[in-house]
Symmetry: C2
Subunit: 502 residues, 2 copies
């Protein structure tokens, strides 16, 4: 989920200057409105060290009315705090109606550190995260607005920042031994943080992950998201008091992260001869591995999503010859039937889950909820918004059972898609593959791009990341997919499933 | 929580006959309405063996339209089921829109058995229950109505039923070795079941515990609760579609369980001499134990609730002389101040939690949410209804920290209360203790009784049961409370806290 926020989202100096006065005015106005309505606001700021959490807090205090903001830094537990239940220190500092509490270091910090440094088991960690989830839901039900931020910088950037701070006499004190120790465990922190976010990323109190590589973008995105969520809370509060429709405002364009798809290099190619050679070998390997997985009762779920004409069918047709027909099924996910509509949207996918040792390939999947159903308005915002967390919990049940879960988004450029559409219309035996729907979807490419970005951001979990496959070149896409499938089988056979063994 | 349902709730043959035709007609009518609105209904039936779960299901199928009811008995896991994620077997049988699915043996059964027989750790059990809670909330958010029943019979009654079935040649096959093994572990099952219910007793999918000792009451209460919850779901659905106020119908009087307070024997007395002797000894013991707890860092929370003039103050005044003034604080909980009102209702109680080794005595407490705030309408139904689960989670955090939690309801009869009120008005130095509010509350005794019953039922947990103290005789009440406090301290010192050590 973090890779998505490493694209280097940027705001130019001019855009920054142009937006700033208006943004600050709106922030203040909205802060006063919240105050008037007596809504308490809790801002939780977390993220990797070196992302500039402190700087953001300073900015917040200078842009809003500080008289009603209390910033709380939770570092070492005091004696008084240690001798009471863990959450006591936070309850002491809860913002009251109309005020803003900033928690810097929160109920997440301790458990994340404990799991990284082995002082807490995964089961204990999950239990604490469930407690946190429950408590946040309770506070929100009680009328509080909780806005949670996660500031992210990539590993290299972190190192660079620490080094830069150390070089300067005026700032070297800011980099501590702890920071470097943290840096050594960067990957582990990221993995554990993903778990924390997955478990607590509810529709009531969602996480907002921000690419903090560029300070201008970081600060503006932070404030724009805060503004948007304050406005949404005001609108919801209006409804509670009788006003009809809840208009959830969109976040300002300037704050939108660089779309993950814009970052994908679509140039890689594989020429026919090379492809053929690699493919033959891969197919043999996968055939062998699939049988081994069968013997060891390891099942696989393989999900294909992607643009129309991106070649999902083609990849699947290259994958299945490597598999014994007894071992796999391909599920084509079309619009739901009448009976499927009369069930929960996840129901139909549960039916086709593979039994131990077998493979189910989903040609489109439950992700329709946050793609087509979102873009076409078949699902309401609250419905598709809830779905991210629901899907993560669903897939976790697969992982817990020991199933390998692979998710692919096949990505092609708009031009390549057009080329393929036109080709399909020209070539007789391909004509059936292109419909009016395809053209209509093509017009909505921007909306789909946003949906894909959010999907990858919110459902790339520590146990099942999304694989975005550059698919302008079909050979390259096919080989890349098969390699990932092969590697995941090798890994599962070697390591077993860590979650299942607990 | 189960003791509350051992009062022997009964329905007379005449009342049964009188209500039956109307109830059946209403059940059918409401079933059809649910069907028309396309609401799927999931009925989960759990409870102790021998409570007659099968009989209730037969009754359900004969009273409603069976064409739209599918009863699923989940016993042994089949090979097909074992080779997929645990919840697969349930997803296969999910009721679709407009239909009713009955789950007999559900996603609760396996974990409860596993914890009782040591095949699962407490942490794993909690994780599974959290998964279940999450899934139920997801299904309800998706439009499903989930009605959960727990049929309860006391240990002795269970034995009697098994013996009776065994005696009769026609029914002896129904009692298996498993049943007797279950019976041997009755107390353990009850403890684990309480934990399961506590963790999953959400406002979205609350548990309905039924006293199943009398078959007539069991069957009628089951159907009346089902009817009430179907009607509530229809009303809620109406709102979603635009209709204004959500009228939540009350369950029919006939189904209301015998109030726990009606079962309390108020006759026990202690005469002055005897009282004096026991008290002196107890006070010495408690003084010593409190210091030991202080040295071992064990804190205590003691909650006093009870009728006006039941003698809360008097008990507290007998308790505190046994305690060193450095060790305890007494918190008087009056109507919330302005600042308290601007926080979550639990906030003010968090502030006064004792530090390790110390004692906080709450003279009235967070239970005001489900007592005075419920009865007086200061909290909306959805608010006080949610509070049961919130309070259980709050108190669990105390237990987890190692705090002893004792909760007392001081019970006096209506006549005794009247006598004390009148005495207070007559005696000069007692006059300030009686206010108009007290008289007003007295008029609402029935509403309070219901609230007390529900409170005891829903917040008596496996780690902190309610103690209902017969308090018509002040000496008896004081000694009983002190004895319970003494015993809980001895227990905590001997055993340590099992939850904290995990």
């Amino acid at each position: 989920m973090f890779q998505v926020f490493e694209s280097g989202s940027k705001i130019s100096r001019e855009d920054y200057k142009k937006r700033l006065p208006e943004l600050r005015a709106e922030l203040l106005k909205t802060q006063f409105a919240l105050q008037e309505q007596g809504i308490p606001l809790l801002i939780i700021i977390a993220g990797v060290e070196g992302a500039g959490k402190g700087e953001v807090i300073n900015r917040l205090n200078s842009w809003m009315d500080t008289r009603y903001i209390e910033t709380n830094v939770f570092r070492k537990v005091t004696d008084e705090e240690a001798s009471r239940p863990f959450h006591w220190r936070f309850w002491r500092k809860m913002p009251k109606a109309g005020e803003i509490g900033v928690f810097f270091g929160s109920w997440y910090t301790k458990s994340i550190k404990n799991l990284v440094f082995g002082k807490e088991s995964t089961a204990q960690f999950d239990a604490h995260m469930n407690q946190v989830k429950s408590m946040e839901q309770m506070l929100v039900a009680g009328g509080m607005l909780i806005v949670k931020f996660w500031l992210h910088v990539p590993e290299k950037k972190q190192k660079k920042r620490f080094k830069k701070l150390e070089k300067d006499k005026r700032t070297e004190w800011r980099v501590t031994d702890y920071d470097w120790r943290y840096h050594e465990h960067y990957q582990q922190f990221i993995k554990v943080s993903q778990r924390a976010i997955r478990l607590t990323n509810t529709a009531d109190a969602p996480w907002n992950i921000i690419d903090a590589s560029q300070k201008r973008y970081r600060d503006i995105a932070f404030m724009e998201i805060l503004l948007q969520q304050m406005k949404a809370a005001l609108n919801k509060n209006g409804i509670k008091n009788g006003t009809p429709a809840p208009v959830i405002p969109d976040v300002h364009d300037i704050a939108k992260p660089k779309n993950i798809l814009d970052d994908i290099d679509l140039s890689p190619k594989l020429f026919k001869d090379e492809y053929k050679e690699i493919y033959d070998e891969l197919a043999l390997e996968i055939e062998f591995l699939a049988w081994q997985c069968y013997q060891k009762n390891i099942s696989s779920v393989i999900v294909f999503e992607g643009w129309d004409a991106a070649g999902k069918g083609g990849v699947i047709r290259r994958l299945v010859p490597a598999l014994d027909a007894k071992l796999y099924r391909v599920i084509q996910t079309a619009a739901p039937s009448k009976i499927e509509k009369s069930h929960h949207y996840l129901w139909r996918f549960w039916q086709d889950l593979p039994e131990d040792g077998k493979i189910t390939i989903y040609d489109r999947s439950w992700y329709g909820r946050v793609l087509v159903e979102r873009v076409e308005g078949f699902a309401k915002e609250e419905e598709w918004n809830r779905a991210f967390h629901e899907i993560n919990e669903f897939e976790y049940q697969l992982i817990e059972h020991g199933t390998i879960v692979n998710k692919f988004w096949l990505h092609i450029s708009s031009e390549e898609q057009l080329r393929r559409f036109e080709e399909r219309q020209k070539v007789g035996y391909k004509k059936h593959k292109i419909t009016d729907d395809d053209w209509r979807n093509r017009d909505k490419r921007e909306a789909y791009k946003t949906a894909v970005h959010d999907m990858v951001a919110k459902t790339s979990t520590e146990y099942s990341p999304w694989h975005i496959i550059p698919a302008n070149n079909k050979n390259y896409a096919r080989i890349t997919v098969l390699e990932i499938i092969r590697n995941s089988m090798i890994e599962a056979l070697e390591e077993g499933n860590p979650d299942k063994s607990t």
